[in-house]
């Protein structure tokens, strides 16, 4: 039981990382990025490719992946999403759906449907291994990275001039413009930042599990669950959402068996939606 609980919390860290990028994009531009899962899988493949090219140095490959994803984020926002964002939520949603389908097929064509995994030395290492609990290093690492990223992003958004301008733009873009913010550019920066986070999540997912080109949508659903439970756009809520989902899944597995663990996780999601439709940590505003 303790093992499942600890494992669930740590899994929650990984889930939180999956959700952060999506939560940011939603929080800032009210855009549900349906391509989020595929972009994560793309990151994993990019890391795999860079890793091969760099002779197995995953850390360096991660750095290159982040840079590549930031550039992709720029292209997506500047040339696709920004053009339709002013026309309401649906056109932008469809654009991200298009990106999702495009990426899944592109990756399938390049990398085939074979399962791959990233060569991470942490994957098969146990940090703690007693009769009562054993903790895998990759999960602990993911959890720590999740907390560091959330604290870092929170600081960036709340305490810096840059973060304030992004929040202002998301709050009221006309008024933000009147304070001198180039609002279209602010959205581009937000997407680039989100893609940097997505790159890290892709590498962690690729190190923890095997992946193939068609798995984007299943991670999208996890990201969706995390973000909805935590409250769309709330960074701290993302961590909470991840943990709730992770613990629900593993306790479900403990009490009811492995087969229904994801079902239990999504039941919790439904309960949260029914009782707190805005998520656990969403702030109520007058608007």
């Amino acid at each position: 039981m303790l093992q499942y609980l600890v494992q669930g919390i740590l899994l929650g860290g990984l889930y939180a990382i999956i959700g952060i990028g999506m939560s940011m994009v939603f929080g800032i531009m009210r855009l549900t990025n349906l391509a989020h899962g595929d972009l994560m899988i793309l990151s994993a493949y990019l890391a795999l490719t860079f890793c091969d090219l760099l002779g197995g140095n995953l850390l360096l490959a991660t750095l290159f992946t982040i840079i590549a994803m930031v550039i992709i984020g720029f292209l997506i926002q500047a040339f696709l999403v920004n053009h339709v964002l002013s026309k309401g939520a649906e056109p932008a949603l469809l654009v991200t759906f298009g990106i999702s389908v495009f990426l899944a097929n592109l990756l399938h064509n390049i990398f085939s449907a074979d399962y791959q995994s990233l060569p991470n030395s942490l994957t098969n290492t146990q940090v703690i291994s007693t009769d009562l609990v054993s903790i895998s290093a990759i999960y602990l690492f993911s959890f720590v990275v999740a907390i560091l990223m959330i604290v870092g992003l929170h600081f960036l958004m709340q305490r810096t001039n840059f973060g304030r301008s992004i929040r202002a733009t998301s709050d009221d873009d006309m008024a933000a413009g009147l304070t001198g913010v180039n609002t279209k550019r602010a959205y581009v920066y937000a997407m680039m930042l989100s893609m940097a986070v997505t790159a890290v999540s892709g590498v962690l997912i690729g190190s923890t599990y095997t992946f193939n080109a068609s798995m984007g949508s299943s991670y999208l659903i996890i990201a969706f669950g995390v973000v909805v439970i935590g409250g769309m756009g709330s960074l701290i809520g993302t961590l909470l959402g991840g943990i709730v989902l992770g613990v629900a899944q593993l306790l479900g597995s403990y009490f009811l068996g492995t087969g229904v663990q994801l079902l239990v996780a999504y039941l919790v999601l439904l309960v949260v939606l029914a009782t707190r439709p805005n998520g656990l940590l969403a702030r109520a505003t007058r608007k």
Partner: protein, 242 residues
């Protein structure tokens, strides 16, 4: 040359010709009133000047720069901004963050703090509530916040749109007192109001708008309130044109 020069401006909302051939001048260090009934096109005009609305034809020149097709962010950096109609505060941000956001283009954190202190001196009530979210402010406080935020950009020309809309007379009086202090800081003001009497007494020059056009303009002191009222409501306009 005037600080702000508008020549032959036309703005459309879809097929609706909202602003028709408007020309206007704002001299440096003056207070200019822009009055007109609901739907006369005041806010559309202001938003067009600030780059929020697209301009169909005509030109806007600010301090010698052609800003007709400029981005809002660029126009603000030149020293022109507005406190928009309906105040448009950042609801989910604190009062302090709202104000600091006004100084977005200022690179130095120290300078931003200095400007913040100046605004708190001008609007002490904002200092008391500095940690609260803007969404909890009253109408008058929101208007002050919008003006304070606009002043944080250190404008040379500040346009205050619908300064009195929905506010109690005593609050309006208070805001005009504070605008006088803004003027004393050397900021040129364009004030949009619906009250003819108040506009004429508080400004150097007045423009009257009706159905997208400037129908009357002149030095506020020399204007006859009855004639302004007629122009405001479009009475006897046909006779005058004939």
């Amino acid at each position: 040359m005037s600080m702000l020069e508008i020549r032959g401006l036309n703005v459309n909302y879809g097929d609706f010709h909202a602003i028709q051939d408007v020309s206007m001048d704002v001299e440096a260090n003056s207070v200019v009133s822009l009055i007109g009934a609901n739907g006369a096109g005041k806010s559309t005009l202001i938003n067009a000047i600030c780059g929020v609305n697209k301009i169909r034809s005509g030109s806007v020149t600010f301090l010698g720069h052609d800003i007709t097709k400029q981005k809002t962010s660029k126009i603000v950096s030149l020293g022109l901004t507005s406190s928009p109609e309906g105040s448009h505060c950042f609801e989910k941000m604190t009062i302090q963050d709202n104000l600091l956001q006004g100084a977005y283009l200022c690179r130095s954190g120290k300078e931003r703090r200095k400007r913040l202190d100046e605004i708190y001196e001008l609007f002490p009530v904002l200092k008391e509530k500095s940690k609260q979210l803007a969404t909890y402010l009253s109408g008058g406080q929101r208007q002050m916040l919008a003006i304070g935020r606009a002043m944080m950009t250190q404008p040379k020309l500040l346009i205050c749109d619908e300064i009195s809309l929905g506010l109690a007379p005593v609050v309006i009086k208070d805001i005009y007192v504070q605008l006088e202090k803004v003027r004393e800081k050397g900021i040129t003001l364009v004030i949009v109001d619906q009250d003819v009497n108040r506009s004429l007494t508080n400004s150097d020059y007045t423009y009257v708008m009706l159905e997208g056009r400037i129908v009357m303009a002149g030095e506020s002191k020399k204007m006859n309130i009855d004639e302004v009222n007629d122009a405001y409501f479009g009475i006897n306009l046909e006779k005058k044109e004939a």
